[in-house]
């Protein structure tokens, strides 16, 4: 009996370790076979990816995939494909990608050097930085006012990492997703919630009483968003990048930006000239 147990344990471990190694390498071939491109995205990060009032799963990142990346991938595989969406959070997105459960992460993932060792990133499609959401009139005005304050962040996010390393005087509380962190702020479990500025504006706009909240502080981190894919899949990366590049060149990207972030968009957030220059520099303009 004991021997059988150890065999079972050994086989289980071996399987769990071997499966990612034995998986498919060529995403385009996989998409061609199945006719489906599976993206990992968010359900609670407006306006990038969220469930809207009509219970539809929409957002800026999803539109970029549908309108810019999908045509390129279809061209590469030579047939029409479908986009399928799966929920992926900061702690689950890289494992989902490595295990082939999703083919592309298109949500709010920051392109960092550490992550680049494990996954490949597309061209940057959005640029923001970390700030704080606080109750109006809060003594917290910037990252320098955090001594002894309780600050919520998302587990697995770059913001949590920076706070832990550089601002240990804050009491960090880490929640798995945005709704839980915001609930904690709403009820006073924490004094501030830190995330990428654009997401905080999105959250504030969606709050029951938007006027009660303020987004404060200068960017204390740089957060360029990219779409992530399995490492070393050059053909697939080329297709994704070509889609985004075409979008920047034709202006289609900026049209999509306007629908979400323009004056009539879900979240008015005019693009600064610096950000525009940053995005265009990627395609040599």
């Amino acid at each position: 009996m004991k021997r059988m147990l150890s065999v079972v344990v050994a086989v289980g471990l071996a399987l769990s370790l071997a499966s990612p190694a034995g998986a498919q390498q060529d995403t385009l071939a996989k998409v061609k076979d199945s006719g489906v491109l599976t993206i990992g995205t968010r359900t609670g990060s407006p306006p990038f990816a969220y469930i809207n009032k009509n219970n539809e799963w929409v957002g800026f990142s999803i539109d970029l995939v549908e309108m810019l990346v999908k045509p390129e991938v279809q061209k590469a595989v030579g047939k029409p494909i479908k986009i399928e969406k799966k929920e992926s959070t900061p702690p689950t997105r890289i494992p989902l990608l490595s295990s082939n459960a999703v083919d592309l992460i298109a949500g709010t993932m920051t392109d960092t050097p550490q992550r680049r060792e494990v996954v490949d990133f597309s061209l940057t499609f959005f640029y923001t930085g970390a700030q704080f959401l606080v109750k109006k009139g809060s003594p917290i005005k910037s990252v320098n006012d955090l001594a002894g304050k309780r600050v919520a962040a998302q587990q697995g996010s770059t913001n949590a990492k920076i706070l832990r390393e550089k601002y240990p005087q804050a009491q960090l509380r880490e929640f798995p997703d945005q709704p839980a962190a915001f609930q904690a702020l709403l009820q006073g479990q924490v004094d501030a919630y830190t995330n990428d500025g654009i997401q905080l504006y999105g959250l504030k706009a969606k709050a029951p009483k938007p006027d009660e909240w303020d987004v404060v502080g200068d960017f204390y981190s740089e957060e360029p968003y990219g779409m992530a894919m399995r490492k070393g899949d050059a053909k697939f990366k080329a297709a994704v990048d070509a889609g985004l590049k075409n979008g920047f060149e034709s202006g289609k990207y900026f049209e999509i930006y306007e629908t979400w972030f323009g004056p009539k968009g879900e979240l008015p957030y005019p693009m600064t000239p610096q950000v525009k220059a940053y995005l265009l520099k990627q395609i040599g303009k």
């Binding site: 370790l17 498919q24 890289i94």
Partner: protein
């Protein structure tokens, strides 16, 4: 898929310290919650068998209410639902003094107390009714009969299922990460954030849980042998 394994992430940098901190938090929250669960379980399990209807009804309500709602919901209940009932100054004080940990402990302890209760009740009901009647005939009150005779025998009968339940409690403590308790699973995710090496981090967590649980199971197997009542438990091979 060309996943590059890099096991050194587990002992380079701060990973080792984090895993140790996570392990300590997991053991702490589980031990405290276990004490709570055992106390509530013994009390409500015994009450469910006493010859007094209101006590049985109260214990039944506790068991059915707490074991039939998901643990995750209880975590949110104790963390988000309970504090607003307290005065503002008290709230601020507990939020600054580990509200997450205590909410997690209560959620885990009260939930598993309800499950433990069923284990204890089955142990009590496995004891022939005549045992209780004999105790009362000897002049013991109902309370004395339970305290001195019924519960001690039941506890010796239920070691195997109670062990299972305790291991469940230990593993379920990982749900506390949803309310920001930095236990073992939380720390494995943190390592993943820093190193982007998910499989290594998850494997480390898995092995630690496995070793911890197998260790407890081995100790409990000794306890079971030591306290088995000859004649009441048939010994198998």
């Amino acid at each position: 898929m060309n996943y590059q394994f890099k096991w050194s992430v587990l002992w380079s940098g701060q990973s080792g310290v984090w895993l140790l901190q996570g392990l300590i938090t997991t053991v702490e929250i589980s031990a405290l919650a276990w004490v709570l669960a055992a106390a509530l379980g013994i009390l409500s399990g015994a009450l469910r068998t006493v010859p007094w209807k209101p006590a049985r009804a109260l214990a039944t309500f506790y068991v059915e209410f707490f074991r039939n709602v998901p643990l995750l919901v209880w975590m949110f209940f104790w963390y988000f639902g309970v504090p607003p009932l307290l005065p503002r100054a008290v709230q601020d004080w507990i939020f600054n003094h580990g509200a997450e940990f205590w909410a997690g402990t209560f959620a885990l302890g009260v939930y598993h107390g309800a499950r433990m209760s069923e284990v204890i009740r089955s142990g009590i009901q496995a004891i022939p009714r005549t045992q209780f009647e004999a105790s009362v005939a000897m002049g013991l009150t109902t309370f004395q009969a339970y305290r001195l005779v019924i519960v001690p025998i039941a506890l010796r009968l239920i070691v195997p299922p109670a062990t299972s339940e305790s291991l469940n409690l230990l593993k379920n403590s990982s749900v506390a990460l949803t309310i920001s308790v930095a236990e073992l699973t939380f720390q494995t995710r943190q390592i993943e954030t820093y190193t982007a090496k998910a499989i290594e981090a998850l494997t480390a967590g898995t092995v630690i849980y496995l070793v911890l649980c197998v260790g407890i199971a081995a100790i409990m197997a000794r306890v079971e042998r030591r306290f088995a009542i000859p004649g009441l438990i048939a010994r198998g091979g």
